[in-house]
């Protein structure tokens, strides 16, 4: 199962790279969302996959009975999802502001910080 997921992750990364290389910032944001998901899945799959055994301890027991899913990557991914949301929201707001100020979504035309000026001697 891990193998199939690995292939899917590769596909996700491929599509997100392609989207992030687009000159349209909106597509870049889509790529950002996809690559966040891919990164979370990589961490998750790195801890191996176990079906039907969440990392909970039954009441009265001292430790989980038998093998349960790996809790550590789950904890890491959980916070990563929330942070990824923060990043996405910030990027979206930034893009929106850029659009309302510059009137374009094409990154090649956003030249305020690095203008295409000619060198003066």
């Amino acid at each position: 199962m891990e193998a199939l997921l690995a292939l899917a992750i590769g596909f996700l990364v491929g599509t997100s790279v392609y989207l992030m290389l687009s000159r349209n910032v909106l597509r870049f944001i889509f790529g950002l969302v996809l690559i966040s998901n891919a990164a979370n899945l990589i961490i998750f799959v790195g801890g191996r996959l176990i079906v039907g055994a969440p990392p909970l301890i039954v009441e009265g027991a001292l430790a989980p009975a038998g093998i349960v899913a790996n809790a550590l990557p789950q904890a890491l991914v959980l916070t990563a999802i929330v942070i990824g949301f923060g990043l996405f929201a910030f990027a979206l707001v930034l893009m929106f502001r850029t659009y309302s100020t510059l009137g374009t979504l094409f990154s090649d035309q956003m030249r305020v910080a690095e203008p295409r000026e000619n060198f003066e001697t």
């Binding site: 199962m1 891990e2 193998a3 199939l4 899917a8 590769g10 596909f11 996700l12 990364v13 491929g14 599509t15 790279v17 392609y18 989207l19 290389l21 000159r23 889509f30 969302v33 996809l34 998901n37 891919a38 979370n40 899945l41 990589i42 998750f44 799959v45 079906v51 969440p54 990392p55 909970l56 301890i57 009441e59 001292l62 430790a63 989980p64 349960v68 790996n70 809790a71 550590l72 789950q74 904890a75 991914v77 959980l78 999802i81 929330v82 942070i83 949301f85 929201a89 979206l92 707001v93 929106f96 502001r97 659009y99 979504l105 990154s107 090649d108 956003m110 030249r111 690095e114 001697t121």
Partner: protein, 756 residues
Amino acid sequence: MDQQERTEDRSALIIGILPVLMSSVLFLWFLGFVPQIAEGLVIRSEFGWVPSLGISFSFVLDGLSLTFALLISGIGSLVFLYSNTYLSRHAHFSRFVMFLFAFMLSMLGLVLADNLILLFIFWELTTITSYLLIGFGHETANGRRSALQALFVTGAGALAMLAGFILLGLTIGSFELSEILDQSDKIQSSGAYELILLLILAGTFTKSAQFPFHFWLPNAMAAPTPVSSFLHSATMVKAGVYLMARLHPGFAGTELWLWTLTIFGAVTAVLASILAIRQTDLKLALAYTTLMALGTLTLFLGQESGYAMTAFATFLIVHSLYKASLFLVVGCIDHTTGTRDADVLGGLGRYMPITTVAAALAAMSMAGFPPFLGFIGKELKYAGALGVASEPVLVAGAVLAANALMFTVAGIVAFRPFWQNRKASLPRSPREAPWQMVIGPLILAVLGTAFGLYPDVLERSLVAPTVASLLGSIEDTKKLTLWAGVNLPLILSLLTVITGLLLYWQHQFLRAQLSDILAQLPSFDRGWDHFLGALKLVAFWQTRLIQPGLLHHYLFATFATVWAGLTLAILYGGIDFRFPNMAKISLQGAAVILLVVGGAAVTTVTTSRITAMAALGVVGIGVAMIFIVFSAPDVAITQLLVETLVVVLVAVALLRLPRLDVERSRSRIYDAALAVGVGTLVSFIVLAVVSQPFDRRVTDYFETVSWPEAFGRNIVNVILVDFRALDTFGEVVVVAVAALSAYALLRVTAQSKQKR
């Protein structure tokens, strides 16, 4: 005068008087050391600073540093007094005083420092204060250019010098000069000697404006005249000479030392004297004679004989006295008449009697007439030059030429403006300058005369101890005397006077000829502009190469680097890859994964915003389902909630944005190729990771202690809030910062828009 102006005047008075008092006190304090130092004592004091690196606040007072300290503090106090009148009306007078005082303290630190690193720090402080002082008139383009040029030239040299210092310190194993200089055998036999010497000379030659770095010094005359007199004649430019003298005991005696210093010193001296004749601006003419003096001093430091060292020590003092005096005289002339042009000035003797006396005394010393100290200095110079064992004729010839030309310049600067008839009318009618301005040059000029009449005093108090610092004992000091009998130096002196008189008689003609010749030759100053221009072009070109300002370029470079780096690491590092077992695939899992892949594919190809949004939602839900299937309820809940919020956010923002375009650019093929490459590589790496045996030790630990020690049965939550709580704290900080930044971005710009 209204109230405010009066208080400003009073504060200017205090600001002006304080440094005069402080530097006078310093001067008297140093003067108190003269008897001890004259007896051959060397005073050292040390405080630790960075002991692990061998850096300390260590200071040494011997003949050489005492001579410099007296010159710095003595001329300093006169220059401060002078500036009080010269610049008191200037809007930035207090700034000027602060810069100048900071310079004086750094310069004192430089000549007293015994630690190489400490010396370097003071050295750079003088560079910076000099930059600020040259650029004091920063309103003019010329002032800015000159300041920057001086900073670049001396700063670049200082960096080379620092490298030399560090090499030297590592070779000897100490940064203390007093320890290093005792081991001249070890220095000169080490393999790095040539490199160390050349690096340090790069610093001293740039600082003391030796050929071919001489061009910055005349430009530095953009500074106010007191600065030129103090920094660019009497003290700072002599820092390079000082360092060469300081290192003399450890470094001198090799062919490399001898010839580098002799040749560069001689070339600088002769070239500068010729260029000095050409100038009509009195200040510039003096600047070139300063170059000539620096060249002569360097030339003598190349030698090791007692005559050369005595000549060095004497000429060092002589030059500082008469040159500072003459600069201040020029400042007086400029201040009262409004011009410094030698062709315009004339007949000032009647209106400015005291200035005239000061100028005459200083100029006689400069020209080398008896009974002035300059005469003794000149005799010693000839004796020293003739003492050069290998090439006495060449060196003596260079000194003769320089001296004769200096005689001529002395006439141009200090004779013509006062005695010759005026040819043109002056911008302002001449009158005597205020006493604060006249007293400085007068004292300096009178000192030059007094020492000439009583050379024994100077010899015992300063010259002999300085020679002792250079050669190790005062035995080698030659007698300072006005009359040494008829000998070769005296004959050469007569020759100097005759040549100088001839040159002075014909100097107008010579000047015209020189201007014609020099116009044909390449100028170092213009070369500097070309150099800077080329530097800027290269910088521009490489900035544009690396930073074209296109997001696409940056991202493409980033992903390509990631791809290439990982591929290389795998190719050379090797990877343990086993082809995975595809048998254990559940239908449920495969369906969910297909959902994710499908969503990603649709997002990539669609040109509809709504479709893209929906497809992204599908990916998000699919990922959440993967978490559910593989036993991660907490993560799945979080993912679903975040997915809901993303939809809300996107719904708010997305529909106000323009439609997606259809991409038909040719370069998208390369993007697609790179995307396929990165995707394949990631798949490969994840496959390799999951085919490895798994180490559950960390997880086992969390599972066993979660309930007994942390009293929680949800292991994921226990990790978040207990075991790794500090990480979680960091993460919520990030969330809060992201939210606040987005909020600020929206609110602040919206407000500024409303205002408009």
